[in-house]
């Protein structure tokens, strides 16, 4: 056991997490950080709803309100939903394809730390002169006029965390292409793995335009460039295009993993093979492809002209087809199945009507002439919260509940889980359903208050009450997590009893090398196939042998930290501070120095020897 003996104690655990390259531990890091940012974004949402609860409210000032809505959107999308999605992908995808780790364990860790320092940098804006206040889309005409450093925090923080996301995307793509266990063909991959695959491709092609957009914004604000300055020949529409060429695929980057989770849930808790597996794969790929063709539907009112609007309207409506395929396949999976309403399954069942309503209002928004009426009103706010909360957040809550035992080895309390579910679901519909009508009654989005006697008072109060119900649901979930961790009752490898895919064939949590012997996959839902033939474990695809593992490293932290330091230099460069340039140089030296150390120092990893694996009774791949 000498090669992987573990030290105990808080310091050792902390150092372990700072240097880990294990995808399962990185998943936990993503889950904790993403969860914290989710709470921060949720608090911002509560402030918004308190401010809007009654007319002419002065709970927050107009300027602070702008900062709160900007940070609510930015935090929820980039710092809560994305990392929580990455947490699930890291925890589950390598296990589902029967891999011992991801293709680039070092880069996996680097991706997390870039996200961590980028997100921290962005949120430090609250304490350093004010948060960004130009909306999460940060349109250039607003952003260039914004005083203080809020927008600079936005630009630099997202740039750093975006790099981490891009690295993560490439890593997952290579893992899925190169690291599948024998027999795991593409058309036997579980739907969650498929959605990870498609999402990673979307990340690869969607994040570079954001990188460019943010760079141009940075040059304009900090280094005197004129990309968006119309007086010097610039054009603010360039930002809108670059942002939405990224931004629209981004919403599919968020929703497709949720679709993947639900596909696993419907099959598992209906005790049936997923209906129409091939068409589900096809629909996932098609949604990913069409996701790049529709960005200008966010810009119908910019004045691109009737032809551009018509093309983008039709392309947008076309996405309803593959999405419809998915909705029907999920329903048909339940049809005739032996459905068990566990907490994750409740989320899955509630997701279908909730998300479909968001889809229907999406089609309404896609009709370009009608969109002139909906644009910039609460109707749009209601629409995107129906798809993001009714789709992504329900998917994340379901996925976290479902995979909690695989990540931590303990089961969350089912009763508390169901209480969370009902509070969250009822609160969600109460908050956002009424906002459709607020929008149709003319309430514009992003206003910090409104007059009496416009007919908006009751609806806004109802919406605020709903938000509080959602908050109660989240608090119950936090309580559930705490008592589950304290009780610490360990469960076996397949705690839901109906696991179908490879991750349920190994212990919870899995050993750090995942599979002692790589499993042989003989069809879709490989673990279910073995169970149906009366076997208790996977057939190994290789003899027991030495396992090659990567070494941990602290360098991902220093590489990311260097960029974090350099970002402060760039930010204060605007104020003509003498120390700004040296700080940029020091930060970049830390980053590039760490990269050079990584290049120059050989890192061959280490081997777990066969003998060490044999005296270990906790076999990977055994039921």
């Amino acid at each position: 056991m000498s090669t992987y003996a573990k030290k105990k104690g808080f310091g050792a655990t902390l150092w372990d997490f700072l240097t880990t390259v294990d995808h399962k531990k990185i998943a936990i890091l993503y889950l904790i950080t993403g969860g914290l940012f989710f709470v921060v974004g949720g608090l911002e949402a509560m402030f918004i709803r308190i401010q809007l609860a009654v007319p002419n409210n002065d709970f927050v000032s107009a300027g602070l309100y702008n900062e709160i809505i900007t940070m609510h959107g930015t935090t929820m999308i980039f710092l809560a939903a994305m990392p929580l999605v990455f947490a699930l992908m890291n925890a589950v995808m390598p296990l589902q394809i029967g891999a011992r780790d991801v293709a680039f364990p070092f880069l996996n860790s680097l991706g997390f730390w870039l996200f961590f320092f980028g997100g921290t940098f962005l949120n430090l804006s609250w304490f350093m002169g004010g948060a960004p206040d130009a909306g999460w889309t940060s349109y250039a005409s607003l952003a260039l006029q914004s005083e203080g450093h809020g927008i600079d925090f936005y630009v630099l923080g997202l740039q750093i965390s975006g790099l981490g996301t891009l690295i993560g995307g490439i890593n997952f793509l290579v893992t899925i292409i190169n690291m599948r266990t024998p027999g795991m063909t593409y058309m036997r991959m579980p739907l969650f793995t498929w959605s990870t695959f498609v999402v990673s491709a979307l990340i690869l092609f969607a994040f570079p335009p954001l990188t460019v957009g943010l760079t141009l914004m940075m040059f304009d604000r900090m280094f005197g460039a004129n990309f968006f300055v119309t007086a010097a020949g610039g054009n603010t529409i360039i930002w809108e295009h670059l942002f939405w060429i990224f931004g629209h695929p981004e919403v599919y980057i968020l929703i497709l993993p949720a679709f993947g989770v639900f596909s696993e849930l419907f099959a598992t808790f209906s005790r049936k093979r997923l209906f129409g597996y091939s068409s589900m794969v096809f629909a996932t790929v098609l949604i990913g492809f069409l996701g790049f063709m529709v960005w200008a539907h966010h810009m119908f009112t910019v004045g691109l002209g009737p032809i551009a609007n018509a093309i983008f309207a039709v392309a947008t409506m076309a996405i309803a087809v593959p999405t419809g395929i998915k909705i029907f396949n999920w329903i048909f999976t339940m049809w005739g199945g032996k459905v068990r309403f566990t907490t994750p399954m409740l989320y899955a069942v509630a997701f279908i009507p909730s998300f479909t309503m968001g889809g229907v209002t999406g089609i309404m928004n896609a009709a370009a002439p009608a969109d002139y009426q909906y644009h910039d009103s609460y109707f749009v706010v209601a629409h995107f919260h129906y798809v993001i909360v009714g789709g992504v957040v329900l998917g994340l809550l379901a996925g976290i509940t479902f995979y909690w035992p695989k990540m931590f080895g303990t089961m969350l309390n089912e009763t508390l889980g169901k209480i969370t579910f009902w509070f969250f679901l009822i609160g969600f519909h109460l908050t956002f359903f009424i906002q459709h009508f607020l929008g149709l009654l003319g309430m514009p989005r992003r206003v910090f208050t409104y007059q009496k006697d416009l007919g908006w008072e009751t609806s806004n109060m109802i919406s605020t009450v709903g938000a509080f119900l959602m908050a109660v649901g989240v608090l119950v979930m936090v309580y559930n997590i705490i008592i589950t961790s304290i009780k610490n009752e360990k469960v076996g490898n397949d705690p839901w009893g109906d696991g179908r895919t490879l991750e349920w064939a190994i212990s919870s949590p899995p050993p750090f090398y995942n599979f002692k012997q790589l499993p042989l996959v003989r069809g879709l839902d490989p673990y279910w196939i073995e169970k149906m033939e009366g076997k208790t474990e996977m057939t190994p695809a290789e003899p027991l042998g030495d396992i090659h593992m990567p070494n941990g490293s602290f360098l991902p932290v220093t590489i990311s930290f260097g960029l974090f330091v350099a970002a402060f230099g760039a930010l204060f460069h605007m104020d003509d501070k003498a120390w700004s340039i040296p700080v940029i140089i020091i930060g970049l030296l830390i980053t590039f120095g760490s990269m050079l150390i990584r290049s120059v120092k050989d890192d061959h990893g280490f081997h777990i020897h066969k003998e060490d694996l044999m005296d270990n009774t906790d076999k990977g791949g055994k039921s």
Partner: protein, 209 residues
Amino acid sequence: MHAEEKFTDATWPASPEKATLEGKNKYLGFWLFLGGETVLFASLFATYLALKDKVPDDNMALAKDLFELPLTFIATMLLLTSSLTSVYAMYHMKNRDFKKMQSWLLVTVLLGAAFLGLEVYEFNHYVHEFGHTFTSSAFGSSFYTLVGFHGGHVAFGLMWIISLMVRNAKRGLNLYNAPKFYLASLYWHFIDVVWVFIFTVVYLMGMVG
């Protein structure tokens, strides 16, 4: 095959960059990364085309006033040749001829550095002769950003190849560093391809107005 194995000329694999799992992963991952880089440059090209000749004052220099064929032609030839010499280097890498590989990489680096020198001269020329700067107009911002991003890539590529040459100077080739050399040369080709587009879209199309 694994990274620490010892080889003779006879046992050296045909594609050493892909002989190990790590090599295979790096090879694929880097191609995907180049896919992302392509989108990055596509966005910069789109921005440049949208802002080309967009200046606040009619007296300011436009693309047709700035660019001269001889200088950019020489720069193009230098970079294209350096791509060819990096192919020679990879040819010798596959034949396990370390010394020849290093020599051709050195030629590549020298050509790349000469290209970069010309670019610095060119930018300097625009700034001092025409007052065409990064902050003078939207045209200036987009021109220096697109061409400068490429120049930054060239500089990074040079550092990368030099680091690899110095680091491995004493120990020769193995399956651990073969993928590293290969990826650096892939990166170098990518830079070259981007330049072909810059030469066409920025310089040739710029000169015809």
